[in-house]
């Protein structure tokens, strides 16, 4: 992968695109233009090869084996953990819990950390722009415990209203759970500042980093948060894998989440004892190939350079935004000052779903609908949007095709 480093230095987009086999696909006879990275990114060869290499050459269960394959598998798996530790800036591998994805991370914290700690009168604070995965797990806990879900306001650009937010920070708030980057709007929240405010009020902080880790630098220690969740498939890695970062001290104090193999030290019918971190939270056989693939994805991003990716996507965002405003009746939802490459929009007299279907026939893949963020769309007065979301492999030319295709679709429908 020395080549990836070279690529990054001169931002050789063709070389980057060559790493992603799916980009060779045709759709309805047109070259695929993939603008749905926020739903799931494409996978580079480095990731696919890491998975197949594991299955073909080192396949075995981890941790429990005396034979060579099992030792090799364990080493690959634990190396992936080390890679993820460095990728998000954690201080120890004990703080890196492999999960199925971002959703499982939040559910784990909701059940294992918060559920035993809250009751009637206590509050769980989120923001109005959260993804369902950072709303519903808290609603379930509220139902189970009598705690109350409270919601920090978001302004009409799609930014958290920091005044409103700060007024909600009181001693009854037992956790602040917020997204780093919005999948529906693109907003980059000032998580370090908001974390500082919350911690000053003694409130633990969980951050949904699903849309941050593929696009901007993540450093959990600089942010100062207690928990941080990412999803593999959003950051060019495999499906079925993610990471929950948790501060060691908090994880130590939490009861286990799942029971099973590997998370125990001893089991007897009378009493079982728990293993050390991170094993305590990794019951059963983990997604070994997934973890190894995620490590490969993180390494790939590091080699390209996340700051290079951010810069490239920022350029595309400003180009794409400007071009899309040429479209008659187009209205952008989410105009925060600080944004990642997400263009969410509605068009007068044209339904997003029809746009999506029609431009799919020009090879352009976008997402339409509520993007698992119904409440914030409702605040914007819409039930759904069309969303083009960017990845490191996209180009200005692709955005030109997008705009042309939308214009044609509008003509057809109006």
């Amino acid at each position: 992968m020395n080549s990836a480093v070279d690529v990054a230095e001169k931002w050789d987009i063709d070389a980057i695109r060559a790493q992603f086999p799916t980009l060779n696909r045709e759709v309805h006879g047109q070259p695929l233009i993939y603008l749905d990275t926020a739903a799931s990114a494409q996978r580079p060869l480095a990731v696919i090869d890491a998975i197949t290499d594991f299955y073909r050459n080192h396949n075995a269960n981890v941790h429990r084996g005396v034979h060579s394959l099992s030792q090799e598998a364990t080493e690959l798996w634990e190396n992936a953990r080390t890679t993820m530790r460095d990728f998000i800036g954690a201080s120890s591998c004990k703080e890196i819990i492999f999960t199925r994805g971002m959703t499982e991370g939040v559910n784990l914290v909701a059940q294992s950390f918060i559920r035993p700690r809250v009751g009637p009168g206590d509050k769980i604070l989120i923001t109005a722009m959260e993804h369902h995965s950072n709303i519903v797990p808290w609603q379930l806990v509220c139902e189970q415990t009598g705690a109350e879900l409270v919601v920090a306001p978001v302004n009409q650009r799609g930014e958290v209203d920091l005044d409103g937010f700060s007024q909600m920070l009181d001693e009854r708030v037992k956790i602040l759970a917020m997204m780093h980057v919005s999948n529906a709007l693109g907003t980059i929240n000032p998580v370090a500042e908001m974390t500082r405010m919350a911690k000053a009020a003694g409130i633990p902080v969980l951050i949904d980093g699903a849309q941050a880790s593929p696009h901007i630098q993540v450093d959990v220690q600089a942010i100062g948060c207690d928990f941080y969740c990412v999803s593999g498939h959003k950051m060019y890695g495999p499906t079925g894998i993610g990471v929950l970062y948790g501060r060691e001290q908090l994880l130590e104090a939490m009861p286990p989440y799942h029971g099973g193999g590997e998370m125990i030290r001893t089991v007897s019918f009378e009493k079982s004892t728990w293993n050390d971190l991170p094993s305590k939270f990794e019951a059963g056989t983990p997604n070994i190939a997934g973890g190894i693939g995620l490590g490969a994805a993180a390494t790939f991003i590091q080699q390209i350079g996340v700051e290079n990716i951010s810069r490239h996507e920022a350029d595309l965002l400003s180009y794409g935004t400007q071009r899309s405003l040429e479209i008659d009746g187009l209205n952008i939802i989410g105009t925060a000052a600080d944004k990642t490459g997400v263009m969410s929009f509605t068009i007068e007299r044209v339904h997003p779903h029809d746009i999506g279907t029609i431009i799919n026939h020009a090879g352009v893949a976008i997402r339409t609908g509520h993007h698992c963020a119904m409440p914030i769309l409702k605040q914007f007065g819409v039930a759904g949007t069309a969303r083009a979301s960017l990845g490191m492999y996209n180009t200005r030319q692709e955005l030109d095709v997008l705009v042309e295709a939308i214009v044609k679709a509008c003509k057809m429908l109006r």
Partner: protein, 149 residues
Amino acid sequence: MHLDDLYKQAVLAHNREPQNYYPMENASHVALGNNALCGDEIRIFLDIDSNNLINRASFQGEACAIATAAASIMTDWLAGQQTDDAQAAALAFEQMLRGGEVNTALLGENALLEAVKHFPDRVPSAQLCWSAMCAAIDGVAEISTEKPA
């Protein structure tokens, strides 16, 4: 499958100028159909007399072109039908969208939407008004259709 088969001119015309697009006062039967996944929401109003004859049908809501056109065509067609013929047509319509054999004569102009069967993610859109209509007849206030067939 060609896009033009889905978005036939006749279908597009119904979307541009939907028929029977109004909230019916004194409707005997009303139901809301929604498909949260794509944000479609259509309310169906029926005026059914004591002989189970549908005198008038209308609709209102926010929905995509396919759902809107389907509702426009359906409400046109419903006027003058017996409720059990309407229910039978709903079944036939569903079968048509699943790719089954159907007597399209039963369906009249509704058969314009046959090509939707080649676009599985759009099937719930086309079906939304029909589900809502059946719900209305059955006295159910709200119904969802989300899953592709």
